[in-house]
Amino acid sequence: MNQSSSNHTSSQEDFLLESSASSHEELQHEDFSLEADPFDDSLDNPLDAEPVQESLLLNTEDCEQPEASAQIDLEGMDKPLHAVSICHDSHPVQTVSFQHANTLLESLEAQDVPVHYQCREGYCGSCRTQLLEGEVHYTEEPMAWINDDEILPCCCIPKTAIRIKLS
């Protein structure tokens, strides 16, 4: 499975990559601290520090950087580069790019755009996202239910510049 190779970083890599992961984790951490005192009984609380698992299973490296990409580059050919613009309630808020990542989900995560996910294989539907403009190609047959205007970022890559709506 191509994903496990890129997701499952060894422990050693993990330590080296910690610094690049920190901004993402800070984001997650903020989510936590918004809640009204969720850890009132925490004395020595590992959850309080950071979601440890995040850094183990996810791409903490920037898979949009060629040297970190798991894809094999074709000699003399540049990979097509597509703009991915992200809207909240149809207002554009951010534009990132897609070039080297294995999936749109990995690309977004590497650029600090959080997307819901669970299975990362197209069968749970957690990453369902509205595609406002453009086209995607599925690298794996999506199994989760999606409406006609929706995509599963965990198993597709853009074919054109795209506009997506994240809640």
Binding site: M1, Q3, S4, N7, H8, S11, D14, F15, L16, E18, S19, Q28, D31, F32, E35, A36, P38, F39, D40, D41, S42, N45, P46, L47, D48, A49, P51, V52, Q53, E54, L56, L57, L58, P114, H116, Y117, Q118, C119, R120, E121, Y123, C124, G125, S126, R128, E141, M143, A144, W145, N147, S167
Partner: protein
């Protein structure tokens, strides 16, 4: 319509609706009306696992070291999950197989239900390894008020559908007097009951398990009950697939393409569907209250679990085409996602620990200062 185990008629399978058409005959998959069910079967088979392959040797010690209120949380969740999987290991078969009309859907229902029996067996495996007297725990499931109350809301739609369908297959449509009671059996009402049953099953698969999942993973974040968490990860992977299965069934019904009447029924039931989701969410929040009655566990409390239930409920109801109930857009427990992701779950007996858990355990125990010499 009376049930026959092999329908002798010749008919075009592709023209049948999912339910209440011709009863099935040849179990053939060369032609399929809805290919998704074949895909679900394939995926479920590829997920096959055996509880005994997960080593629970360390969990007994962990369990004994837990304070009383955390033992209560752990055992109560296990009892509740046992109830849910007892229901799911049989009810899809009993309720849906007599009325199904497509071979690929029939086989998906059987495959789905079979995987639930693996979940049930895994609870016995956990109990045997963790508590000195498993019988006490299992016996309490039918005695404990908090659990039996849950059983009612989980099973009432199934039971209603099963009863009505048995009258329908024996007596057909019409007004019948059965044991002195007058019952009116008509197909439209039966379809309505089927639709609502499918919604309640969707809720069971999609919401009811998640409070327990959260607790199991919160234990494992502290490197406690890790064998249990490994089993729960495997269960969660199956449940995500079952959830997708029920979402497809509900969406096909709502689209009305293979049965226009079903589409009308779905459109007219929106309020009841919302109620089913809302009731389940409230019951799960109440359950969180029972779990934490003697104290919260590290990393989780009743309030944050309630927010998680609201978030999950919104995700699930939106997926079947209805508006959200709580407008809970962000996940209050983002760390759960990576536990629910089972990319790297391996069930090899020789590998007692999943590498990620092991590294996770190290990570939390070792201070970063220890790596002062490393170039970061």
């Amino acid at each position: 319509m009376s049930y026959t185990t092999f329908n002798q008629k010749t008919f075009d399978t592709l023209k049948q609706p999912m339910f209440f058409g011709e009863t099935v005959n040849v179990a053939r998959y060369d032609i399929q009306k809805h290919k998704i069910f074949e895909n679900l079967i394939e995926k479920q088979l590829s997920f096959f696992w055996r509880p005994e392959e997960v080593d629970l040797a360390n969990d007994r010690k962990d369990f004994n070291d837990l304070p009383d209120h955390e033992q209560h949380i752990f055992l109560s969740n296990l009892k509740y999950q046992t109830l849910l999987d007892s229901v799911q290991g049989r009810s899809p078969n009993v309720a849906f197989l007599p009325i199904v009309s497509l071979p690929e859907l029939e086989t998906w229902i059987e495959t789905w239900s079979f995987s639930e029996t693996i979940h049930s067996r895994s609870y016995t495996h956990i109990m045997r390894n963790v508590v000195p007297n498993p019988a006490e725990v299992f016996d309490d499931i039918t005695r404990n008020d908090f659990i039996t109350r849950r059983a009612v809301s989980v099973t009432k739609y199934y039971d209603e559908l099963i009863e009505k369908c048995s009258f329908y297959t024996q007596l057909g449509e019409g007004t019948h007097t059965i044991n002195g009671k007058v019952v009116d059996i008509n197909l439209r009402d039966l379809k309505r009951t089927l639709y609502l049953t499918m919604v309640s099953v969707n809720v069971l698969e999609a919401i009811r398990f998640y409070v327990s999942f959260a607790c199991s993973f919160a234990f494992a974040e502290r490197a406690k009950m890790e064998g249990n968490a490994k089993i729960i990860k495997l269960i969660a992977r199956d449940e995500a697939l079952h959830l997708t299965g029920t979402q497809h069934i509900l969406q096909i019904m709502a689209a009305g393409k293979d049965d226009p009447e079903m589409g009308e029924i779905a459109a007219s039931c929106k309020e009841e569907v919302r109620e089913i989701f809302l009731d389940a969410a409230e019951q799960e929040k109440e359950w969180a209250g029972y779990l934490f009655k003697d104290g919260s566990m590290i990393g989780l409390n009743q309030q944050i679990l309630a927010q998680y239930v609201e978030y999950i409920t919104d995700q699930r109801i939106v997926a079947i085409g209805l508006p959200p109930i709580f407008n809970a857009k962000s996940n209050p427990l983002p760390w759960i996602n990576s536990w629910l992701n089972s990319d790297n779950v391996q069930v090899a007996p020789q590998e007692a620990e999943i590498s990620s858990y092991l590294v996770g355990a190290l990570d939390s125990a070792v201070d970063t200062d220890d790596f002062g010499d490393f170039d970061l």
